[in-house]
Amino acid sequence: MSKTDVSRRGLLRTGAVTAGGLALPTIFTAQSASAFTNDPTGGTVTLGFNVPQTGAYADEGADELRAYQLAVEHLNGEGDGGMLNTFSSKALEGNGILGKKVEYVTGDTQTKSDAARASAKSMIEKDGAIMITGGSSSGVAVAVQGLCQEAGVIFMAGLTHSNDTTGKDKKANGFRHFFNAYMSAAALAPVLKNLYGSDRKAYHLTADYTWGWTQEESIKAATEALGWETVNTVKTPLAATDFSSYIAPVLNSGADVLVLNHYGGNMVNSLTNAVQFGLREKQVNGKNFEIVVPLYSRLMAKGAGENVKGIHGSTNWHWSLQDEGSKAFVRSFGTKYGFPPSQAAHTCYVQALLYADAVARGGSFNPCSVVEALEGFEFDGMGNGKTLYRAEDHQCFKDVLVVRGKENPTSEFDLLEVVEVTPREQVEYPVDHPMFAGGQLGSCNPGA
């Protein structure tokens, strides 16, 4: 018997059939059969969509899953093709990937690192998935990215905003299309300066975990560069539901801007509480008190209801964008599901397409070929204008949207309006930027 690394079910599915009947046990070894993990040898290729289906981010996960299903349809040549028509690369022909029909398996990350890894492992070991994608938090993204690196499959991150994902925890087999905390801050800062001036005192409330810290670090650096003074930064427990005892001290702190470095349920509650305490009507130092939410999500904005009105933040993508790619995607998605897609859905859809395209351009499912095809890849027609996958850290660079909670929404989806599209050059940073320091990309791992 010989040893193999990680199991390979994909090849066995067809291999076993040829072995046939009640033949004597045949022992397969990866070395002789294939050069990389889960090499799809039949007529199909399996992708793993690992999204939160239970817990606080279940709705976001459901939207991601919808986007993936749409992407699979388009890849297999069903439906209207969506962004395949606007994508600058034309390697995909609507006949699956490299002629293999795309199939998928789904799993539940539960927004827990352990569960997400278990689910991804089962996709790799049991279902023979060649690529894992999805997720709604940075902890999960980093954990699954690490797993994929070890197992030798590609990871296309879903919604993950922490600097660490392509900073100190970056991995050669992982790619992130979503923007990050640094880019949010870089995009927001000039807009905030225009709106609120350069003489402001900011008070930060920050979710007490890694994403929150990188968000705080980024926005603090960006606003201080404008001349803003940081009055205080306070960490709030992730499990907190009532933020009143953190909001109350803001009232008499002398600050005139409150920055909420919160996401998801934390953001909904802290914003609601802040508005309850009358912060939006408050006057400090002769100026209107302002609230800023650096990372916005439409799904979460909905949870905060009226409270988001007039509040600025940044977002990766929004359905109201008028470029051809976005319009095509919104049309496909809206026609199929009856409502516009979220930014998480957009990222996941694009990630699936980008992976397929990279395989097609490289002509192989081998992760190293995919990595090579994606590194330094520049494309257009997927929303957010010209986009680059930087080779050095596998971070995507594209335009970032600054948005504001809409005063007079016309429908339940029409909650945010785009204030400014910050061009890519403004949010770029050098690879060795201190906020992204530490960690190494390593080299691509094909698994075998």
């Binding site: 199991s7 599915r13 076993a16 022992i27 278990a118 890694t210 390593g442």
Partner: protein, 399 residues
């Protein structure tokens, strides 16, 4: 055999057979078939079955025997995992020292928490353990990030010092966990006709540890010490007036079950070198309580069954999606197919929690003794006998 009576020996043999042949038993359906979805014979899940089996067996030594309901046992599992990962980072990728350290650290941690918590009994004890575990979780998530790496979880990096071993392999990746050179992730694939079976080194290490842990638990159940623990549960007053000090007995049970949890945590990290803080959350502690009660508290095999049951649902049912449902029911006429899928839909995929909740209720309502009682009833029914009468079954509660 093995110093056990006939009944216990056969129980142990059953467990040995089940664990060693798990790759076959858990993969009953041919790979290509629609029912392959229900196959659980892949390394990660098999490892989880064994690891949570160990965790639950250990928990049962405390809860099943002494009746002390700890709501913070996940803390020991978490501490075990962290210790193991630190061992990988600093010492070597060999799992043996890592596992030994996790058992020791978890045991010490249990000694401290147990010493304080066991000053109270009943629900006051439960809340004390819960409070300690939640404190560990909250701090691991935030303030202790330098040690625990917070939300992301402690993982290996390309620049770990690793005294006995290499920082990174020749091709620039992180070395993998091994037992004296045998890699935990290496897997043999065996194809028989349309089936294929996976034999994973890591799983077999877990399986051997499970068998050892299970054997030890039988010995403890049948020992004078085990009898004293049952006496603690039955009547502490009498115990004290019989010249026995119940405190060290319960503390010993607490530490032993904490060490089992640490062992499970160390194994978990050995299979997958990452330790997340959620492992210590109260829901994780609650899970092992549920496993034990579901399987049958105080019975030997029950906790293992309960652990398997819950992990199966978590990993298999959560992965069934509408697409798969449609492929199963595609033989039906279109309208009926959609209707059946619509009916089943709430219980699979994102609804796996619902299914689990319903099953909890059904089991506890209809099988008061947990899954073990279900097994006994089936066995009794097969033999055509009525259930053995109450005295018999009560005097020998450790089936």
């Amino acid at each position: 055999m093995f110093g056990l009576n006939k009944k216990d020996t056969s129980l142990l043999l059953i467990v040995i057979v089940l664990t060693l042949f798990a790759p076959f038993i858990l993969n009953p359906f041919p790979t290509g078939s629609g029912l392959a979805q229900f196959n659980a014979g892949y390394p990660d899940l098999m490892q989880r079955f064994a690891i949570f089996g160990i965790f639950a067996v250990g928990f049962n030594i405390l809860f099943g025997l002494t009746g002390y309901l700890s709501f913070g046992h996940a803390a020991f599992l978490g501490v075990g995992s962290y210790s193991a990962v630190w061992m990988f980072k600093l010492l070597s990728m060999n799992v043996l020292p890592a596992i030994i350290l996790s058992v020791i650290i978890a045991g010490l941690f249990a000694l401290v928490i147990g010493y304080i918590s066991l000053r109270r009994s009943g629900i006051y004890f439960s809340i004390l353990t819960l409070a300690f575990a939640q404190m560990s979780f909250s701090l691991a998530y935030s303030v202790l990030t330098p040690i625990t790496n917070g939300e992301t979880g402690l993982q290996l990096t390309l620049d770990d010092p690793r005294v006995l071993g290499v920082t990174s392999t020749a091709d620039g990746s992180i070395p993998v966990t091994n037992l004296f050179g045998i890699e935990m992730r290496s897997t043999y694939n065996l194809a028989v006709g349309p089936w294929d079976f996976q034999f994973n080194m890591g799983y077999y290490l877990c399986a051997l540890v499970l068998i050892a842990a299970f054997y030890l638990s039988i010995r403890i159940f049948r020992s004078p010490f085990g009898m004293m623990l049952r006496a603690v549960k039955s009547n502490q007053q009498r115990m004290n007036y019989t010249g026995l000090n119940s405190k060290p007995y319960t503390l010993a049970a607490f530490v032993i079950s904490g060490m089992y949890a640490g062992l499970a945590g160390g194994l978990m990290a050995s299979m997958d070198p990452l330790a997340g803080a959620e492992r210590m959350q109260w829901t994780a502690s609650g899970e092992v309580v549920l496993m034990t009660i579901l399987g049958g508290a105080g019975t030997l095999i029950g906790p293992v069954l309960g652990a398997g049951f819950i992990k199966y649902f978590e990993n298999i049912f959560s992965k069934i999606n509408d697409n798969i449902l449609h492929s199963w029911f595609s033989f039906m006429p279109d309208g009926l197919e959609d209707f059946v899928v619509f009916l089943v839909h709430p219980f699979i995929g994102k609804g796996w929690h619902l299914t689990l909740g319903i099953l909890f209720m059904l089991v506890v309502v209809f099988l008061p003794g947990g899954l073990v009682e279900g097994g006994q009833r089936i066995a009794g029914w097969v033999r055509g006998k009525k259930k053995p009468d109450a005295h018999q079954s009560e005097t020998n509660p450790a089936e």
